[in-house]
Each structure stands twice: as structure tokens, then as C-alpha cells.
């Protein structure tokens, strides 16, 4: 039997479980995701930076881990599961989820009634929490209450521009401002024959406009978009890019930041949208698409020039915006390109079309 561990929520709820993964303690915002596969992608999704991820699916790690399915070098701060698998099986597996957490230094806790925990987070909203493998004391609880993810951008963004070439030859050059990009976003662009230059989050508009770039992608990432208001120069960059009429695709945080830069307002969702089954209505096509999401904030008030193009079918929150005639497309989710008529690849294509028109 594993060592004991505790999960303490900011509201005082204590769950007793067993330690797994890295030992020690971790503090972050506890959020739940309903995805049933893709735990490795989840753990390495920068959106979960500073968060303790709860898996609602109770049996985690069944197919092991591998070196290919990481979304980034960044990780969730902690991992909460009901049960993990010690003898995984899959042809690509080269380790267990337990080993993976240890390697990445992610503190985990298992044997938790994750459904009960999820119900708390659903009803009370995402909240701070801490995992520890030492009997929790009052100082730990104070630390939990005091926790804030702060400004994650300097941590998750690249420090220097990184050039990623598409294997298809690279017809277009894309500047991607990295607020915490996932590998999947870069792969998406590569599929559309785009070479991608990943730029630090604080890159100036001048370093993009008039350069070799055919378009700009504002990536997804962790943290509260409203924090950008404290860094007006970041919003200024977005505004300048917008005004320069350079084709712009905002994904997730990039979508939220665009709205902020143009005068909109964002708000925190009670318990977020985290799962592979988030239905998004494309208002133009009158179709609903299932999307993979991992965010906690939405555009509450769109900018005046904005037109909402997508909404979440469940809570009708904004999922996508277009800006009049501007070559701009922003989405709360990453367009999936699974090669199915039922995916949202047409949105990525739309961006490429914008590039072509401007070319």
C-alpha cells in the first residue's frame, strides 16, 4: 500500500488518499477534466500550469505513457485520480503514469473519491487546493488559501524565437506568440503547410509587422486573461497587429486576449470547460461540433466590432468571434484536424484562406 497523502481544498474539505508520482507537496487551483483518454496530453498541457488536475474518469494510466504524446515541457502542478494502473498495456508505452509524474516532478494523489470531489468543484467552483504526503498543518492550509498562479507567461513562454518548419515545405510563415502553446497547435499549422516561428509572449508588434510573416497566431495558455490588463503593452501588441490587418488567429487565451485588446471583457467560469465533449455551435453553419477544451475563462462582453460566431451548446458562452471585415478569427478552442467532416478543421482552413487573400 502506498504512503498516505491528503488533498485539502480551500473550503476546508479534506480528502485522504495515497501518494503517487512525485513526493512532497503541491498547491494550485483544483480543476476537473472529463476526458477519458489523453491523460498524458492533459498533464503536459500548459493550460494546466499552476493547477491540480482532477480526472473524473476513475481508472487512469491504462495505456501507459510514451515520448510522443506530450503537449509541452510544462506540466500541471498536481494530479488527482481515483486509481492508477501499474501494469499498462499499449505498443507505444514505455512507462507508467506513476513513473511519468515522478520524472516530471508532479505530485499526485490517488484513492480519492474523484466523483465526490468533482461535485464539490462543480457546485462551489474551481478553488485552490493542496496535495501533501505529510500530515497537513495550518501553515499548509494558509498557503493554499494564499495561492495565486501569478503571471505564468514568463514561465511557459519561449525565451527566444524558435523556428519550427513544416515538413510539407512551408508555403506560409506564421508568427506564433507563445502564451503557453501546445505542440498540437504547431502541428495543426504544420498540417496546413505553415512554417511557424514561436515568439516570446512579450514580442513587440514591430518585430512582426512588415517582416516575413503571412499571419499571426495568438496561442492558448494558462492564467487569467484579465492579468493582461496589468501589462498594457501586451494588449497593445495585439491591437497593433489587428490594426495592421495581418491575418490573425487567436486560440483559447489568444482569443480572450484579442477581445480584451479590442475593448471586450472576460470572466471566469465557475468550474471551467475541461473535457473532450464540449459541444460548440457554429452559428454560421448551424452545426454543432464536439471540441476538446481546457479553459476556465470566457469572453463575457465582446468588443463592439465583434460578432459572436460560436457558442457553447451547454451554457451558451462565447466560443468564437469574428471582427467585421478584419482578417481575424478567434476561437476559444483549438480547431481539430482529425480529417473528419465532423471536426472543426474548416476553421483552420478559414485562417489559411485569410492568409491567401492577404498574400
Amino acid at each position: 500500500m502506498n504512503k498516505k497523502a491528503w488533498l485539502i481544498l480551500a473550503d476546508g474539505t479534506v480528502f485522504e488518499g495515497n501518494a503517487f508520482g512525485a513526493s512532497g507537496k503541491a498547491i494550485g487551483e483544483a480543476v476537473f477534466t472529463t476526458v477519458m483518454t489523453g491523460y498524458q496530453e492533459t498533464l503536459t498541457n500548459p493550460n494546466y500550469f499552476g493547477q491540480l488536475v482532477v480526472q473524473t474518469f476513475p481508472s487512469i494510466g491504462n495505456y501507459g505513457v510514451n515520448d510522443e504524446d506530450n503537449n509541452s515541457e510544462h506540466c500541471a502542478s498536481g494530479y488527482i485520480v481515483r486509481e492508477y494502473c501499474e501494469q499498462p498495456s499499449n505498443f507505444r508505452s514505455n512507462g507508467t503514469i506513476d513513473g511519468f509524474l515522478k520524472k516530471r516532478g508532479i505530485v499526485g494523489i490517488c484513492s480519492i473519491d474523484t466523483r465526490s470531489l468533482t461535485r464539490i468543484l462543480r457546485d462551489k467552483g474551481s478553488m485552490n487546493a493542496g496535495i501533501t504526503d505529510h500530515e497537513p498543518d495550518s501553515a499548509f492550509i494558509e498557503d493554499i488559501k494564499a495561492f495565486s498562479v501569478g503571471n505564468p507567461l514568463p514561465k511557459v513562454s519561449v525565451k527566444e524565437p524558435v523556428h519550427c518548419e513544416s515538413l510539407l515545405g512551408g508555403k506560409y510563415n506564421i508568427a506564433l506568440i507563445d502564451y503557453g502553446v501546445r505542440l498540437s497547435t504547431i502541428e495543426l499549422l504544420h498540417k496546413y503547410n505553415c512554417d511557424v516561428t514561436v515568439l516570446p509572449y512579450n514580442t513587440k508588434a514591430e518585430d512582426i509587422i512588415g517582416k516575413k510573416y503571412n499571419g499571426v497566431v495568438l496561442s492558448d495558455g494558462p492564467g487569467d486573461p484579465a492579468d493582461f490588463l496589468k501589462n498594457p503593452e501586451l494588449l497593445d501588441t495585439v491591437k497593433k497587429l489587428f490594426e495592421a490587418k495581418i491575418p490573425l488567429l487567436g486560440i483559447g487565451l489568444g482569443h480572450l486576449v484579442t477581445a480584451l485588446a479590442l475593448g471586450g471583457k472576460t470572466a471566469k467560469l465557475k468550474s471551467g470547460h475541461r473535457g473532450a465533449n464540449q459541444p460548440v455551435v457554429d452559428l454560421e453553419l448551424d452545426r454543432t461540433f464536439l471540441t476538446l477544451q481546457s479553459h476556465g475563462y470566457v469572453v463575457e462582453t465582446p468588443p463592439e466590432t465583434a460578432k459572436i460566431t460560436h457558442v457553447n451548446a451547454n451554457d451558451r458562452t462565447c466560443e468564437g468571434i469574428s471582427y467585421g471585415g478584419a482578417p481575424v478569427l478567434t476561437l476559444q478552442f483549438e480547431p481539430q484536424t482529425l480529417g473528419s467532416k465532423n471536426d472543426t478543421s474548416h476553421l483552420a482552413e478559414k485562417f489559411i484562406k485569410l492568409i491567401k487573400i492577404m498574400d
Binding site: 500500500m1 472529463t34 474518469f57 494502473c85 501494469q87 499498462p88 468533482t118 461535485r119 473532450a276 451547454n314
Partner: protein
């Protein structure tokens, strides 16, 4: 898109009788469909030949026809009812095929009927192998190398080209009937020949064998706008090669990383898009375990068994949503009933693990070939929900009612290690148990995998169970060991048994058993779904639910369901359970259902006030009682499964409504029953209770042969035989004693005579018999396998009076409150009691429908203290109706290899059909036609002649003369084996002599059957279960050749009646039972 304006009146085609491959799931689907249509204010016309279903209930549709599901009959009904649309996708393969034929012939167009659900091109694309392949090629989805062939020669040629093993799949057959995997030319010739004959369009697909690949299924729903979602991915524990209906299936997929999962999900969505499906669709895929290579196996463009499973596993009502889509709605317009907040256009997320475990009939058919392949053999299934695979698996094994509560199968324990290894090679219904035994013997996962190709993940999970059991058995039972075992699904009783230690004595603190909700969204949204499953844990959501939503002014009653569908306990008990629940709700009670069968209406979460999807064992039930604290419990509608709980429920002090536990015991305990009959002065065939073979032989001698042997506490005549001599008795006793039965064996004098059956409702004082049924076959054929006629045709009033009097006496003496089923035999003008079942029976649904006496509703009310008089009902025998109803059994022999088709006291049928008409002959004709009995008449001046082959036992010889005479008069060419032939010839009946197989000469019966000259076989000789017997071979050959084989002279005479009448479909009057 909202409801289509051009739809007002819809014809729904049901799936007909229960057969292997097409079972109760279509009653569930059809019922949901009818309700969804009525909800929209549409007029619903229903046709289904299966009377045991909820969907053929009067309040389910506006017009209900329990008529044969043939093209002509459906056409006739369309002409009468003039519906504007027909729904094709909710009635299984039967409904789909009929709809397609109607459309292809142009009949629908001529009659201005729209085809809803799936159109012809969709059905063709999915079902015609070649068009399917071409479609897949167009959209770049890989298929397995295959070729459609129409001759055996072409099959062989193609197989040589791609190499063996190859899979043979006949086109348009149920559950892959007639298909199989073959590894050489001889096998191919046999299977392909068989498949070609069974395929209505004489086509089979020859396909490259890909054994060892993972089998993954997706349930997809797509609407007219093109929105499509997958409900869940399902992973078969058995790799490709075993029909998914026969495999242990787990939801969601376990061994697929997200990349593979998304790849297959995308493929499924692509396929469904290409087929332009509007509704539900099942996609089966094979995934190579060591690469991203995959192939599409099959697509079912309709609601299927898998969709019923996916519905129950996720809480998403597929049939209902598919129906709404068929009438015009899109997914984003349909509200998700479960959350009430979200829409149907989303994919369910589960936060539990589901295991589906198949139920086979092999415990009954000991001589049947147990191997599994591409042709489905399971009669039913159970589903279980747990927090981990192990827990779900443990819940499943105790739900299938094989007398086990762990993965240990006692027969395997006796094998040597080498034998276990050898046994692992068999792909049969016991393989999972064998894997478990192998693990126990220390055989490595690697080795087990290399033999079975079962993914190591499953093997390791089973090893976990094995380790838990080892640790329990080893040393002191600590709290830690106990908790671990509980977490992985062990019952307290099982833990005590394995550890050999009492929990109480070891100071084990029992943690509570709790219930979690199935909510489609893994807790993301609050839901008020009353759908629960039990797990070991802390937070009891059911208790919360009861606190929050349960009406404190209502008394709570739990209705125990009937578990998996098996021969002898089928859909009729689900019908009864559901009706009981409805009646309880109507009466102002809170009705709670506990059942574990995913194919049924009872496990729809909106049937009762609350649904518990859990095993039906004493301990599981205790946990439920602790949470629900019901006022009362009902056991008499859930077949033997629920009845078996009686003793336990009494012990724990539950308030059993209706007939008391003591009365149930009095009817089932032989000695008490004898005493009861003595007291009532009712004769029964003389008999004894025995425990050993010696006692049995002695008793048989006293009684005089033939004698009937059966274990006490039986189900569906399980393990019942008629013995004609000492050797029969000895053989039987050996089988029975080897299976360690605790209860004694009953041995009775076997009385040949007319069998009569009565279902009665009693309130403790008065009784009502809705109808007396008479069996066409004489006693000796199980009542479930007999053709049953209501009202009786040959019973005189004196006998009826005796039957009524006996029924009254028995009911009163047993203090029956609720339903009772009594079987009588009339022997030499005297009435004898054969059996009393103090519970609902197989015949309740059909008698309720024909007489209009809602038996279960009345019985339920009686159980709650409302006397028959208070309910305004007459007593005694209910006036006979103007209609005659003939119930005809339906068998699935073509799926069960090596099972002797000879009817006897052991029940063999899987389902039934009903014929309703004003005259007996017409009703019989309809019933037989609905049961797929081919009506072949000899037509004079036609070159093609008709043939009938007789091979009967000596006791039947006197009667075979008259029977043969009738067929001779109808112009049939008569063939017979030696004894029968010479008898017939002596009596001036021209019978062609045919050799038996054992004569070793040609032409023998087999070559005669192969010649195609024979239309009917009457074979009553050598009743035996040994497949090596000549007569069994003859009967099996008939099944394989699709030749009607009658094993009772009585059935053959009934057929002759029909043939002689000259009746055709044109002569039939279609009866809308809502008008009766």
C-alpha cells in the same frame, strides 16, 4: 429542423420473436421509439409478431398488429392503415430488411409511404458487402481484403489468393448466422455452402483473417444536418474473431491511447457521414495491437444490441434520440433528458467502468459446441458498473447466475497445469475463466497473451483479482486486506469464504456500500437522474437523491427484475416487472427497480422512480435495502431470479408483498407440495424424491417407465429428462450429482396426455383465471416449447370445471396473493397437477393481450390489498374471447451447433410468436407463419415436387400412418427410414425407403436432405442429447439445410392442418389488438 410537417402517421416495424442475435434490446428500442413518436402527437401503427414485448402493449401505439413479420403481411397492413411513413431502424435486422424490401420493390413509393430512419442507399451501402467496400475505398477507410462471392468455387479461389485463415460472412443474416472462420479448403467449402444457402441473396463475403487484432466499437448518432457524435468507444476483451455479442466488452476503451482512440473515432464519424446515416449506427473496427493500422469490420445502420448497451452504459437514450432524428429533429434541438440542461448533441463522459458479460445456454445444452466465432451464440447478457474493471467484472460474474461469485470456475480447478494451458487454446464461452485459472497457476501474462491474444491489460487486471484472493486466503484477514477486496468488488460472503474467516470474529469494520449516479457527464452538470449503481465508497448519491426528491408521503417498493435473458427466462419477465412498476406508480407508490440486464425496458431509467443497475444476489440486495429502506419488495414478477431471493429477503425481514415466502417454499419443496396436494385432494403423477443414482433407479422401477427426472427448484425445465430405462436414469444422475446440486432430484411417473396451463390472479380470497390454455403437443414437451392455444379447443366443460376447482383450491391453500401459474395434464380423462409456480409466467403477456385482462396490474393491486371485487373484476374463469390466440415457440438451433432439436421436457426455445384470429386454423396458420415455419404446398401439375421424410420412434408408429396419409393426400412424396417405411408401405402408403446413416449405404437420410428433395422432416426417434446419435445428426442436418424439422407428431399434424386448409396470406384478417 423541427418535426417534419409531412409526417402524421407512422408504421413502426418491430423485430419479431426473440432469437439469438436479436433479443430484448429491440423491445427496449421499439418501446422508446413508440413513446418518442407519441410524445410528438403522431399516430403510431405497430407491427410485431412477438407478444411478450412491452412495445405491443395497448398504450404503446394507436394500432397494434401482432401479425407475422413477412413482406406480404406488412404490405397488407400498409394498405389498411395507409401510414405516410415507415420507421425502419428500430426493429433490428428484421425491421430493416423488411423496410428495404418494401422500398426496393417500389411498394412504398406506390403507396406514398416515406422511409424514415435509413434510406435504401444507406442500407445498401452498409449491408451490401461490395457497395460497402467501394464506399469505404472512396473515403479512404481501410477494409480487410475481401471479396463477395456467390459460389463455393469462387470462395475457394479467392481464399487461395489471400491465404487462410479466412472469415466467411453471409450477406443479410442475423448476427452473422451461417458465417465462421475457416483454416482450410474443406472447412471453407462447408461453411461457405451453408452461408450461401442462408443468405437471402445468396452472397457471402470471404475475408482475410485478422485474428489477434483488437475489436473496438463505436456507437454513433448523426442527424440530417450532419451533426454527429460518438456515444462511447467499446473494447472487446476477446480480440477479433469472437462476435461482439459473445465477448466480454468494456466501456470505455481501456488500452487505446488518445491517438488511437481519436483515429478510430474519426474513422467512425467519417463512415457514418459517408453512409448518410440519420439516426443511430454501430461501427465495428479492428486495430492492430502493435501499430496504428486498422480496418473497418462492419457497420450496422440501425439501433442494435450494442446501442442498447451503449445507452445503458452512458445514460444516453439512443433509441429515443434516433427516433426524433428520423422524424426531422436535429441533435442540437433535442434536450438531454438526463441533465435537463444540456442537449443531445454532446458526447457522454463516464466516470466509471462498465463490463458487459454474455450469458450462454451451454449450461443447459451440455452437448452443444461451446466454441465462439463470428456467429453469435449468447442468449443474453448482463451489464455491471464499477469504479474499476475488477469491481465491474466481479459484479458481472455474480449477475450472470452461473452459481459463481468469483472468476474461479470449479471445473477448471480440477485440471492439471498442462490441461489448463491446452484449454486456453479453446476460444469458447469459458475462456475468461480459463485465463483466470491460468493466472492462478502462475502462467505468465506473456504466455497467456501469446495463446489467446487477449490484451495484457485484461490479463493483469485478472491477476490483480487473483492476488487479492491469494492474500485473503493467506493468513489473518486484516482490515487492509478486507478494504482492498471490497474496493475490487468482493462481497463480504465471498471474502469470508475465501479467507475461511468470519468478518465479525476478525473485528473488521465494514465500510458502507454506496450508490453513484449515471449522469452522462461525469459529474460536470448536476443531474436528477434516478439511475444508480452500487460501489464501495463514502458518498451515497442515492441517499442524497432520496432525501431531496423522494416523496415522503409515498411508500417505497422495490421490484426485483429477472436478470439476463436465457432460455426459460426471457423477455416476458421483463414485461411483467415493467407492468408491476407502472401499476405501483399508478397506485401512488414509489417504484424502484433493481436489475442488471442492459437490453430491457425495465432498466430504462425513466421506467421506475429509481433504477439500480446491480447484481441480484442476497448481499447486493441487502445493500440496496439499507439505502432505500423500502416499505415492501416484490419478487413474483422477476422470474426465478427474483424468486430465488425470497428466502434471503424473508431472513432479513423485508416485507415481501403478495404470496408469502412460506407459500413459495410450499410450492417448490417437494414434500410440502405433496402434503398440500394430499390436503386438497388433487392428484399428481406419482413420484419420489431421490438423492443418489441407486435411489433413482429403485424409484423408477416402482413407478414403471417412462419417468420424468428433474432437480427441485428448476428453471425452464433445466436438466429435465424423460427416462425410458435404467441407463437413462444413471446417466442423468451422474450429470446432476457432478454439478454438486444441493437440492434433491425429483422422479415422477410420466403421464402422456394433453397438457393444459392456467395463469390465475388471486387476492387471498377470490381468484380469476383470465384463460385456460391448451398445448398442441402432448405432455412431455416443455410448456415453453409447445404450441399453446387460447381458449382451449378440445377440453370439455367437465374437465374445465375440474381445472377451475383445482386452481381455486391450490390458490387458496397456498394463500396466493398475486399470480400463480399451474400446469395440468389430462390423462385418461382425469386431471393431474404437474407443476405450480407461485409467480408470473411466460404466458402472462400474451394472455393479458388477448383477453384484455391486465394480469400484472391486477395482481399488483391485489398484492397491495385491493381485492378483485374492489377492482370490479369477476371471479372464476373469465369469459372466453371471440379471438383465438396461438402461441408458437421459436428456436435458435442454427446458432447452437450440435444441440439436438428434439423437443422434450427441457426447454429449448428462445422466443415466441402469436397468431390471433377468429378461427383456430387461421390463428395457427398465422402463428406458424410468424415463427418462420415455411408453408410448402404440393402443387399438382407442377414439376417441382414436395417431399417429406419420416423417421419415428416405435411409440409414434401407430400415429405416423395417419399423418403420412395426410401428406400423401396433399401430393407430397413420402420418404422414410427402414421401420417407418415398411410400416407405411404395408398400409398402402407409397414411402420411398431411405437408409439411416448407420446402415452405411446410400442414399441415406443425409444425402437425401442434401439433394434438396425434402421440404419437411418428421423425426421423433432416439431422443438423446448425444450429437453422435443418428437421429440427432438427421435433425442437425435439417437445421443446417434450413429444412423444417418437426419432432412431435402433434406439431406435424398442426402443420398438416394449415397446409390442408389451403390458406394464404390473402385469406388472413389483420387484427388490431387494441380493438379486442
Amino acid at each position: 429542423m423541427p418535426l417534419r410537417k409531412d409526417i402524421k402517421k407512422i408504421l413502426v416495424i418491430g423485430s419479431g420473436p426473440i432469437v439469438i442475435g436479436q433479443a430484448a434490446e429491440f423491445d427496449y428500442a421499439g418501446t422508446q421509439a413508440c413513446r418518442a413518436l407519441k410524445e410528438e402527437g403522431l399516430e403510431v401503427v405497430l407491427i410485431n409478431s412477438n407478444p411478450a414485448t412491452i412495445m405491443t402493449d395497448k398504450n404503446m401505439a394507436d394500432k397494434i398488429y401482432i401479425e407475422p413479420l413477412t413482406l406480404e403481411v406488412v404490405k397488407k397492413i400498409i394498405k389498411i392503415e395507409k401510414p405516410d411513413s415507415v420507421l425502419s431502424t428500430l426493429g433490428g435486422q428484421t425491421g430493416l430488411t423488411l423496410s428495404m424490401q418494401l422500398a426496393k420493390e417500389g411498394f412504398l413509393e406506390e403507396n406514398n409511404v416515406k422511409l424514415l430512419g435509413a434510406n435504401v442507399s444507406t442500407i445498401d451501402k452498409a449491408e451490401d458487402r461490395q457497395i460497402f467496400k467501394d464506399t469505404m475505398k472512396e473515403i479512404g477507410e481501410p477494409c480487410i481484403p475481401s471479396k463477395v462471392v456467390e459460389t463455393v468455387e469462387n470462395a475457394v479461389e479467392f481464399a487461395e489468393a489471400i491465404g487462410y485463415p479466412v472469415v466467411v460472412r453471409p450477406a443479410f443474416t442475423l448476427g452473422g448466422t451461417g458465417g465462421g472462420i475457416v483454416s482450410n479448403e474443406t472447412e471453407l467449402r462447408e461453411t461457405a455452402g451453408n452461408g450461401l444457402r442462408l443468405s437471402p441473396i445468396t452472397q457471402v463475403l470471404i475475408e482475410k483473417g485478422i485474428s489477434g487484432w483488437k475489436e473496438i466499437e463505436f456507437e454513433v448518432i448523426r442527424d440530417g444536418k450532419g451533426n454527429a457524435i460518438t456515444l462511447c468507444g467499446m473494447e472487446n476483451m476477446d480480440p477479433v474473431g469472437v462476435h461482439t455479442g459473445d465477448s466480454i466488452v468494456v466501456v470505455p476503451t481501456m488500452t487505446l491511447a488518445d491517438k488511437e482512440f481519436q483515429m478510430l473515432r474519426t474513422a467512425s464519424l467519417n463512415i457514418v457521414g459517408a453512409l448518410q446515416i440519420e439516426g443511430g449506427c454501430n461501427v465495428q473496427l479492428a486495430l492492430k495491437p502493435d501499430s496504428f493500422e486498422y480496418a473497418v469490420i462492419e457497420v450496422n445502420p440501425r439501433v442494435s444490441r450494442s446501442s442498447a448497451l451503449a445507452s445503458k452504459a452512458t445514460g444516453y437514450p439512443i433509441a429515443k434520440v434516433a427516433t426524433k432524428i428520423a422524424i426531422g429533429y436535429s441533435l442540437d434541438e433535442i434536450v438531454n433528458q438526463v441533465t435537463g440542461k444540456t442537449y443531445a448533441c454532446f458526447e457522454p463522459a463516464v466516470d466509471y467502468v462498465v463490463v458487459k458479460f454474455p450469458r450462454f445456454a451451454f449450461d443447459k445444452f451440455v452437448h452443444a459446441k461451446k466454441t465462439l466465432g463470428t456467429q453469435m451464440k449468447a442468449t443474453g447478457e448482463v451489464m455491471s458498473i464499477g469504479m474499476n474493471f475488477e469491481e465491474a467484472m466481479m459484479k458481472a460474474v455474480r449477475s450472470i447466475e452461473l452459481g459463481i461469485d468469483t472468476m474461479t470456475k470449479p471445473t477448471f480447478e480440477k485440471l492439471s497445469d498442462a490441461e489448463v494451458l491446452e484449454k486456453l487454446k479453446d476460444i469458447d464461452c469459458d475462456r475468461a475463466f480459463c485465463v483466470f485459472e491460468a493466472i492462478k497457476r502462475g502462467i505468465s501474462a506473456e504466455e497467456i497473451h501469446s495463446i489467446t491474444f487477449i490484451d495484457k491489460w485484461f490479463i493483469e487486471k485478472l491477476r490483480n483479482l487473483c492476488n487479492i484472493e491469494k492474500s485473503l486466503a493467506d493468513g489473518e484477514l486484516t482490515q487492509e486486506k478486507y478494504l482492498t477486496a471490497k474496493k475490487f468488488g468482493y462481497l463480504d460472503g465471498t471474502i469470508e469464504k475465501i479467507s475461511g474467516q468470519k468478518l465479525a470474529a476478525r473485528n473488521i469494520t465494514q465500510k458502507q456500500f454506496v450508490y453513484k449516479t449515471v449522469d452522462t457527464c461525469a459529474g460536470e452538470f448536476a443531474s436528477g437522474t434516478p439511475y444508480f449503481y452500487g460501489v464501495y465508497g463514502d458518498e451515497n448519491e442515492a441517499a442524497e437523491f432520496i432525501e431531496k426528491y423522494s416523496d415522503k408521503n409515498k411508500k417505497k417498493i422495490i421490484v426485483f427484475g429477472s436478470g439476463p435473458i436465457r432460455i426459460g427466462q426471457g423477455i416476458e419477465f421483463d414485461y411483467c416487472s415493467v407492468h408491476c412498476v407502472w401499476a405501483l406508480k399508478e397506485m401512488g407508490y414509489e417504484a424502484i427497480i433493481c436489475n442488471n440486464n442492459p437490453e430491457t425496458v425495465s432498466t430504462d431509467f425513466d421506467t421506475g422512480d429509481r433504477l439500480y443497475f446491480d447484481p441480484l444476489t442476497g448481499e447486493d440486495v441487502d445493500n440496496l435495502l439499507a439505502t432505500e429502506k423500502p416499505w415492501g419488495v416484490v419478487v413474483q414478477f422477476g422470474g426465478q431470479t427474483a424468486i430465488k431471493l425470497t428466502k434471503h429477503l424473508k431472513k432479513v425481514g423485508a416485507n415481501i408483498l403478495g404470496t408469502s415466502a412460506d407459500s413459495i417454499d410450499a410450492a417448490e419443496d417437494r414434500e410440502r407440495f405433496d402434503a398440500l396436494l394430499e390436503k386438497c385432494q388433487i392428484p399428481r403423477p406419482e413420484g419420489y424424491t431421490v438423492f443418489t443414482a441407486a435411489e433413482a433407479v429403485e424409484a423408477a422401477k416402482k413407478l414403471g417407465y417412462p419417468v420424468l427426472l428433474r432437480p427441485s427448484y428448476v428453471l425452464g425445465g433445466q436438466n429435465m429428462i424423460i427416462a425410458h430405462g435404467d441407463s437413462d436414469v444413471e446417466e442423468y444422475m451422474e450429470i446432476i450429482t457432478s454439478s454438486k446440486l444441493e437440492n434433491p432430484v425429483l422422479i415422477d411417473k410420466y403421464l402422456m396426455g394433453t397438457e393444459v396451463e392456467v395463469d390465475a390472479i388471486c387476492d387471498g380470497k377470490d381468484f380469476l383465471i383470465p384463460g385456460i390454455m391448451e398445448h398442441i403437443e402432448r405432455a412431455g414437451v416443455h410448456s415453453g416449447d409447445s404450441i399453446s392455444v387460447y381458449p382451449t379447443q378440445t377440453i370439455n366443460d367437465r374437465i374445465k370445471k375440474v381445472i377451475i376447482a383445482y386452481t381455486e383450491r391450490l390458490a387458496k391453500e397456498l394463500k396466493i396473493v398475486g399470480l400463480v401459474n399451474i400446469q395440468y395434464v389430462i390423462h385418461n380423462h382425469q386431471v393431474y397437477v404437474i407443476e405450480v409456480n407461485p409467480r408470473s409466467s411466460r404466458t402472462v403477456p400474451y394472455i393479458s393481450k388477448v383477453t384484455g385482462v391486465q394480469m400484472v396490474d391486477i395482481a399488483t393491486k391485489a398484492m397491495l390489498g385491493h381485492s378483485l371485487k374492489q377492482q370490479g373484476l369477476p371471479t372464476g374463469l373469465f369469459p372466453e374471447t371471440d379471438y383465438i390466440a396461438v402461441k408458437v415457440p421459436v428456436f435458435s438451433f442454427e446458432k447452437l451447433h450440435d444441440v439436438d432439436t428434439q423437443l422434450g421436457p427441457d426447454m429449448k426455445s428462445t422466443g415466441e410468436t402469436l397468431g390471433i384470429a377468429k378461427t383456430f386454423k387461421e390463428a395457427l396458420f398465422k402463428g406458424l407463419m410468424a415463427s418462420n415455419m415455411k408453408m410448402k404446398r404440393a402443387v399438382s401439375n407442377e414439376s417441382a415436387h414436395r417431399g417429406i421424410l419420416f423417421s419415428v420412434r416405435n411409440s409414434d408408429k401407430p400415429e405416423v400412418i395417419e399423418l403420412a396419409d395426410r401428406f400423401d393426400a396433399m401430393g407430397f412424396e413420402i420418404y422414410a427410414t427402414s421401420g417407418t417405411a415398411s410400416l407405411l408401405n404395408k398400409n398402402m402408403l407409397p414411402a420411398n425407403f431411405t437408409y439411416r446413416i448407420k446402415d452405411g449405404k446410400e442414399p441415406n437420410v443425409i444425402s437425401l436432405l442434401e439433394s434438396g428433395k425434402i421440404d419437411y422432416v418428421v423425426s421423433t426417434s432416439e431422443a438423446g442429447r448425444d450429437p453422435a446419435l443418428d437421429s440427432v445428426k438427421l435433425r442437425r442436418k435439417s437445421v443446417e439445410r434450413g429444412v423444417v424439422c418437426l419432432t412431435s407428431i402433434d406439431t406435424a399434424n398442426a402443420l398438416a392442418d394449415c397446409l390442408e386448409s389451403g390458406m394464404t396470406v390473402d385469406d388472413l384478417e389483420m387484427v388490431d389488438i387494441t380493438k379486442i
